[in-house]
Structure formats: C-alpha cells, structure tokens
Amino acid sequence: MKKKFLSLALVGAMCVALLASCGGKKNATWKVTCPWAPSGVAAMVSQQAATKSTSYSDTITLVAEAIKGDAATVNTWVADTKANDTELVFVGEGLLSITSILDPDKMQFGYEDFVFVENLYSSIFVLSADAKLNLNNIADLKAYVEQGNEISVAVNGATSSEAFLAAALFGSMGAGDKLKLTPYQSAAEAAQAVARGETQFAVSHQSQILETYQQNGVTVVCAFDENDIANGPFEGVEGVGQHGYPYFRNRCFVMARAGTDADKVAELKELYGKILADQEVADWLHNTMLLEVDTMSVEDVEAHVENVKNIVNEYKDIVAG
C-alpha cells in the first residue's frame, strides 16, 4: 500500500510538472533591467514605475530589476534576448556616448540593437565643494582655479558622465592638467567623500548631495545645465551653460530589443507616458529625487547622444589619459 502510494505520488508529480510545462507561458510581464546599482537614481525610478504599472495597464506589468555591471550587464542582456521578448533595458549616455568611444571592445552591442521606448527623467548634475573652500558660484570657482591649486573631484566611476562633466568644466577653464578625478563606487559615496575632505569637489545628482548640503558639509557651486536651477532646495544655483561651459543632463532611455513589434513598443510608451503623468509619480520625482519628467522622441535621443559624444571626444584625454 505504502509503495503504491509513493508510486502514485511520483507519477502525479511528474504529470503535474509536464502539464504545467505545456501550459501557456506568454504573459505581459515585462522585465526592466537596470544595469546600475540598485540604490541608484535609475533603479529607484524604474522600481517606482514598475509599482505603478498595474494601475495603468491590464495587459502589461513592469518588473524592475537592477544588475550592477554597466556594459557587461547590457552585453548579457543583448546576448540573451531577441525581438519581441518581454525584456526592457536601461541605456544611457554613459554607454552610447562614452563607452562607445573610450572602450568600444567592451560593448558587444550598438544603438541598432535597441528600439527606443521612452526616457523617464532628466537629471541636472551639480558640482559641490568642500564647505571650507567657501565657493558659492562660478565666479568663486574661477578665482579658485586661477590660483593654480590641484583640483580633486569625486565622481561616480572613472569614466562616468560625472567624470566628463568635471573634465569639461575644469578643462574649459584651462585647468585640465591640474584635475585629479577620484572614482567612487556610487554617486552617493562620491557625494560623501567631499564632505569628509577626501576631495575638494564632487559631481553628483542633486538628491545625492542634499543631505550633506543640509548638514553644511558642502556648498553647491554650479549646475551642469543651460540655466540656473529653477526650483527645489538648490534653486538659484548657476547653470554653467550661460557662462559658455559645456554641459549635458543625465538621461536613461528604456529600450526594447531591436525588431520588437512597433505596436508593442507604442503600447509600452503609452504606459510609461501614463505613469509619468501620474501626479504622485511626478511629485515623487520632483520633490524626493529632484528630477524632471522628460519624455523624448527618437530624434531627441539621437541629439542627446551626439552632444555627449562631442564632449567626450573633446575631453577624453583629461579623463582617460
């Protein structure tokens, strides 16, 4: 009796497994891979969008995943996916404009491997300085640079967007040879480094320097944008663009695999549009993350990639040697 029962259990388990494996696998769960730190801005925004997805669509559920690894993560993503797979990935100017120039061998993909879905936000980077230096605007910074001091800047990664913004600013001020970039593992760490006095400056997202700024550990010198910051805790901080220095905003594009049906891409774009139009999401992005909702077209994306490429080509000697 016992043996019969055990045999039945085995057959039952196998049948259930086989039947289940024959069952419909396709569903509308789209996994959104973020190739950067889970605590980073992109991963947090992606998580927020995923949480909201079920409120705006009955057919699509977004699932956020963060696998730190940058180009390596995207290489694996491209290798493991094909057109119409329910997989999305974040790609930013770091990969499309920086790695593609500095270390093209590292990328086993190109822009043509993706189809653009949406850009979720844009972030204005800021330059913060050790509070002891008492640098509060671009004029102060210029005066400091003219003294010929060594300039050490904490950045998130040796060849990151932040590194190029620092190189572009100090390079165009004529202090490229004095610049020492100190790479940290995350933007938050880089922001803390300047408060500890390990470096004199840091380039970071606004949200990542806010706590240190409120504790009076740093001053915020300038913003990497055309105009002054219009609102938020850093309202009035000067934009470098109006002084003629190069700049770009940080953007992260949600991409599907090239060849994915246009109607699916359109459906995803529509969903992201609805999520970003949600007042709660917009407020969270604006007030907590200090970001701006920034939906884009393919042309906008290409223009952004090209702008950053120009800056990289001009200042790559300072960053990468």
């Binding site: 730190a37 889970p38 605590s39 980073g40 991963a43 995943e65 963060a66 696998i67 690894g69 940058d70 180009a71 390596a72 993560t73 290489n75 694996t76 290798a79 493991d80 790695t99 270390d103 590292k106 086993q108 050490s152 990664g157 040796a158 060849t159 020492k180 100190t182 790479p183 940290y184 593992q185 995350s186 938050a188 760490e189 803390q192 480094a193 500890r196 006095g197 390990e198 470096t199 706590e211």
Partner: protein
C-alpha cells in the same frame, strides 16, 4: 531612532515578510537538525532565491535560517548525542543525558526558551548599539576602510584552520577571485581570458555553492553512510520544567546572553566559542557544578542562550563597518549589497526605515523560532534521521538549480562545479575555505579603498598611517596577529605534550 521605528514597523509587518521569516526558520531548523548539514550550507543554497527578492523579505528569510540554525543544532544533540551544528556540542553534554533520563521534551524546551531569550536579547543589543557604532563608522574615510577590511580578513584568516599562513593564502586566493571581471575603478576587464560571461565577475552564490556545498557532496567519499535510527515514539515525557528549574536557569541565561553578545561583536569568533565559554562560566558559578555533564538544566540553558545571542551581535560590525563576524553573515552582506544597502551610517540614516525593519525583524524571527520550536519539534526530530541516500541528490539538485537561477545559464553551473573541484583540492592541502569566502565578499571593498586611498595621496602609502583611526586599526591588527599566533603556538605545544 524613533522616527524610523514606526515606518519600519509598517514595512516589516507584511504577510510576505511573515511568510519568509517562517519559511527561513523552518528550513534553518531542519538543516541544523540534520547532522552533516550546516547553517552556512543552507544559507548558500538559498541565497540565489533571495536575489529576486526585495531587501526586507530577503534578509528576513536569511535571518530566519541563521537564527533557527542556532537552535536546530540542539535537536540532534539532545536526541541522538550528535550535534547538528558545531556550536551545539556544548548543549549535547547535558542535553543528551537529560534526554536519557526520560526528559527529552523538557531538554528540547529548555534549549528552545534559552535560544529565544538569547536571540531576542541579541536583537535588542543590535537595535540599540548598531546606530551608535555606525556613527563612529561614519567618521572613517577611504584609508580607514581599507584598514577595516584588512583587520577583518586577518582575523578570519587567523582563526580559520590550523595555520595562520594557510589562512592568509586562502584569503589572498579569495581576493584574487574577486578581481575577475570588470575593474571596479576603471571598468577594464581583468582575468576574463576572453570569456564574455566573466565580464560581470564571478557571482558569490555560484562560487560558494562550489566551495561549500558541492565539496561536501564529494566528501561523502570520505566516510561511510551514517545511519541515524531515531525512534521518535520514545519522546513521551510531559516536558514540564519546574519553577525551581526556571529560577536556576535565569542567571546563567542572562549572563550567557551577555557573553554571547560580547563574543559575537568580535569578528572571527562565533557561536561555538560563545557556547563553550558560557557553559564553563555557568559551571563555575553554579551551586550544583556536579550536575554539569549529567543533564544540568543550567548547562543546556547557558550553551543555547549564548549561541543564539551571537546572531544579532555579529550583525553589528556587519551593518556598521561591513566586517562579517563569521562566514554565514558574510553571505548576508552580499545579499544586502545586492539590494544597494552598503554598510555604514548612511544605512541607518538614508535607508533607516529598511534597516530598522531588518533589526526589528530579528526580534520577530526569534519569536517565530520559539513558536515553531514549540509546535514542530517532533517534526524536526523526525527529520534528524532522513537517510543520506535521499538527502545527497536533493542537495545537489538544489545546488544546480540555485546556480542556474542566478543568471539563467548553465555556464554558472559549470563554474560551481569547477569551484567544487577546486575546494576538494584545497581540502586535501588543508587550506581553510572561510577566508576565501571573506576574500570574495570583501574583495571589491578592499581593493577600491586601497586604490582610492593611494590615488588621494598621489601614490604615497603614508595615507595608511595618517589618521588616528588608521593607527588604532594597525594596533588592533598587530594585537590580533600576536594573539592568534600565540594561541596557535600554545595549541601546538599542548598537542605535542599530549603525544608525549
């Protein structure tokens, strides 16, 4: 602290978290109860499962395994005179004799209640001490962090295995393996030998499955099958513990919990040291020392409260400085970091809600451990005698499924196999595996802080001697090395005298 407690409570008390705590506690109790399976093995096997989970449920699951492992080992120690985990050996001295006197249920109950008290005490210590230690940690810069990593690695290398030199070789090997993949500072590839799957580096869970789990499967070749025939129908006593016994246990339980916490905070020392130290202290302080070794309730209570009091305390250096107190919590560090929770003050400020939820969760874990222990002990007792023939292939299947699920490819399963074979060779060469684990976990942190510190100082190593904290850590490293070397020499001398 209070501003985090309320939102943390909201984050913690979800059905998902409660479920994962209970699954963790159950799995941990089962693994620890079976002789030959260890808590670290259990955490390694289930680590890939947590990769797809959020920080709180993932940590609750792992903490459930970790804490229940502290208690589960006592089940087989009491029932069959074989400790399920090494730290249950002290429990066995009195647990089994008490069981033989027909008081099996009472012995199991004493172990359970003492474990719960020790665990809750330790969790409270973590809750109050953790943020204070983190404030000190916040003052540490890049050079100091490198010294902290070296301190942690030196201690673990020193106390694992018979020889400190071999421990250091193992640690170097672990650190070297952590270098495979993208350079954390420049993103250039290192030691990938053109294999694109290696660009992301070697995943910790996959390495550990090979180093700790598959090697144990191969070790089945070393010994004949264990036959543990336990007749659970013999457990018939009512399990009553008298008021007088409770009274006798109160002092050793409290004292042992304090000892457990103090031992747990020191990296490299663990539950085994705490339980033996507490057992001996309780014996010395007891009014009935003659009962020790013959079924003393104080002996069981002291050993069990101490080994569970270690659990929360080991998390203090882990969460504040990133130094894992032992191998199991080292794996938990990686589970935290995968969720972007990097040790330090910011963990207690910017992500304070999550952190406090995890610390409060540890109290909850101990409460559920007590409840499961109360109602499921007879099941855990039956589990003790699961035949190895069934257990072995099931563990292998878990290992392979876990390794595959990390990145969804069979390449990783192959990597785990390579690490299994490597671990077998290392075992033959008597190289301890725990420093390799520490090297793997701390590798990136050690390297980036080392290189960044030199970058800040323009290549001058004087930066490692430039601050008070650096000097303190240097002194601590020197003191630790001195103590470990002296201890090893004493052990050798004692062994030589024994041989003579």
């Amino acid at each position: 602290m209070l501003q985090h407690i309320i939102p943390a409570t909201g984050l913690l008390f979800t059905l998902e978290n409660i479920l994962w705590i209970n699954i963790g506690v159950f799995v941990g109790s089962v693994f620890a109860a079976i002789p030959g399976l260890s808590v670290i093995l259990c955490v390694i096997l289930f680590l890939p499962v947590t990769y797809s989970m959020m920080a709180i449920p993932g940590m609750m699951f792992l903490l459930g395994i970790y804490c229940a492992g502290g208690y589960g080992g006592s089940v087989s120690a009491i029932l069959i005179n074989t400790p399920g985990t090494p730290h249950a050996a002290a429990t066995m001295l009195d647990g089994h004799p008490l069981s033989e006197r027909g008081r099996t249920k009472a012995a199991l109950k004493i172990a359970l209640y003492a474990s719960t008290f020790g665990g809750v005490f330790s969790a409270l210590m973590l809750l109050f001490l953790g943020p204070q230690v983190a404030k000190i940690a916040a003052q540490l810069g890049t050079a100091e962090y490198f010294m902290v990593c070296v301190f942690g690695l030196t201690i673990i290398a020193g106390v694992s295995g018979k020889s400190m030199i071999k421990g250091l070789i193992s640690a170097c090997l672990g650190l070297l393996i952590s270098c495979v993949g993208s350079d954390p500072m420049t993103s250039y590839d290192r030691f990938t030998f053109g294999v694109s799957r290696l660009y992301l580096g070697l995943d910790l869970a996959i390495c550990l499955i090979g180093l700790f789990a598959l090697v144990e499967i191969m070790a089945k070749a070393e010994k004949p099958l264990d036959r543990l025939n336990l007749d659970t129908t013999q457990i018939k006593d009512d399990g009553v513990i008298t008021k007088a016994e409770y009274k006798r246990m109160a002092r050793p339980v409290l004292l042992s919990s304090i000892i457990g916490v103090l031992v747990g905070i020191i990296p490299g020392t663990g539950a085994s040291e705490a339980s033996w130290f507490s057992y001996n202290t309780a014996k010395n302080m007891s009014k009935h020392p003659e009962e020790f070794g013959h079924g003393s309730v104080e002996g069981i209570a002291a050993a069990e409260s101490a080994n569970n009091a270690v659990t929360g305390a080991t998390l203090i250096p882990l969460l504040t400085l990133g130094i894992p107190g032992d191998g199991t919590v080292a794996i938990m560090l990686s589970a935290l970091m995968i969720n972007g929770l990097n040790p330090g003050l910011s963990l207690f400020t910017t992500q304070g809600d999550i952190m406090y939820a995890i610390m409060l969760g540890l109290i909850l874990v101990n409460i559920f451990m007590c409840l499961q222990g109360k109602f499921l002990t007879s099941l855990f007792a039956k589990v003790v005698s699961i035949p190895q023939e069934i257990l072995t292939p099931i563990i292998v299947i878990f290992c392979f499924a876990g390794a595959y699920s990390v990145n969804g490819n069979y390449f990783d399963v192959g990597v785990a196999l390579v690490f299994g074979a490597l671990a077998w060779v290392l075992r033959k060469l008597e190289l301890p595996p725990v420093p390799i684990l520490l090297g793997l976990v701390l590798g990136s942190m050690t390297e980036t802080n080392f290189r960044r510190a030199l970058l800040i100082s323009n290549g001058s190593p004087s930066i490692f001697f430039s601050s008070v904290y650096c000097i303190i850590f240097l002194v601590l490293i020197a003191a630790a090395v001195g103590t470990i070397v002296r201890g090893k020499m004493k052990e050798k001398k004692a062994a030589a005298q024994k041989e003579d």
